[in-house]
Symmetry: C2
DNA sequence: GGTAAATCCGACCATATGGTCTGTATATAG
DNA sequence: CTATATACAGACCATATGGTCGGATTTACC
């Protein structure tokens, strides 16, 4: 793999595990047995490096795990349930889970780096838009009750997912997942179509 | 106010705003016009300093905003609704909101500092226990449906609150709050007692 | 093979950080 | 009045960090 790719991949790994500010460029270079010269040949600065990681790796990761799985013409509540379940199951099986990567970075950069925040918020917006669209389509197709506020539901879903991923890192991730999913289904039952088919 | 108190208060402010690792001891001392001598006379290290802040300030803050308001014999769903509403309203009116302070620190220290994580998780546990207790009492008093899994509901509530506070920092906090609260009520309606009184 | 561009090395620099240590002013007690 | 503990000042230190720079090495191309 090309050096630039390796740097970004390892960079994301370490930034996710230790945070941006607590991960030095040297940490990344040491792990890859590369030198300062290699890094600053490919990237202007640590910030530039991270922004490229966001666009090249993080955005795709979020898309493939949280957005793409909910696209389709099936019941969005079913799709979202499976999507969250899968994402959380991956986290459970991960030896060292550090929570939702997007949520973590949002927390870390909030109020500290506006440029990076803009890039992160863009991903959040994409996720939100896709969730709202999926829910609206579901409403149109008769899966959701016609009184459901899709924007509100999307906000609620994003919130709960961000939060549970944070909570899962503390203790008993598997139990947390199970409990969360049971109440998510409870919530979904309350917004699904009331028409007896 | 005594120097030790001022250090802790200002320390928490800055740690909350900029994060623990991105806030230097000098930052705090500069803001208070104090010297290194003053700091290391009162505290053994930066870590010891932070742990004392957790116990003296953070724990009380969480207790007064998230735990104490839900104690009582009224409908816990009503109490929790008002509690979350108040907490989020405070955040909305706060010029610079950085999310839920407890959630932020959990994210920052996860996988990095086990000692601090233990202290933070203790606070989380206290919150969880109180939530579960309040819900169980509510079930006993006929406010909640008797099939409700109170542990699961507590996990769901904590998750959603952590998450929405993170989301609120990104954009349109007031709208996010409104949307979140509407769906929280929706969820609560689905777990409240079905008995027609 | 020669040349030039691309890629990488690693010494070096300015600055920042957590922490130490000596000194000093004030207060309190005998 | 003296002595001792408290409370703070600030110079100092070892280390770490982001970033620079001249040079070496490899690759691509004619």
């Amino acid at each position: 793999m090309a050096t630039m790719q390796r740097l970004q991949t390892t960079g994301l790994e370490l930034f996710y595990a230790k945070g941006y500010y607590d991960t030095s460029v040297d940490d990344i270079l040491k792990k890859l047995e590369l030198s300062k010269g290699a890094f600053y040949y490919h990237f202007d600065s640590k910030e530039d490096f991270f922004i490229q990681i966001i666009q090249n790796l993080l955005a795709r990761k979020i898309y493939s795990t949280l957005i793409e799985p909910i696209e389709g013409h099936d019941n969005p509540l079913t799709l979202i349930t499976k999507c969250f379940d899968d994402a959380m199951e991956t986290a459970v099986h991960n030896e060292l889970d550090y929570g939702c990567i997007l949520s973590n970075f949002l927390t870390e950069f909030n109020g500290k780096n506006e440029v990076i925040m803009r890039h992160l918020n863009e991903i959040v917006t994409v996720w939100e838009v896709n969730l709202v669209t999926a829910l609206q389509k579901g409403k149109f197709n008769g899966y959701l009750d016609r009184h459901v506020d899709c924007e509100a539901a999307a906000t609620f879903l994003m919130s709960s997912y961000f939060g549970v991923r944070t909570l899962m890192t503390s203790a008993a991730p598997s139990a947390k997942k199970y409990r969360f999913m049971s109440q998510l289904r409870q919530y979904f039952k309350s917004i699904e179509s009331k028409v007896i088919s």
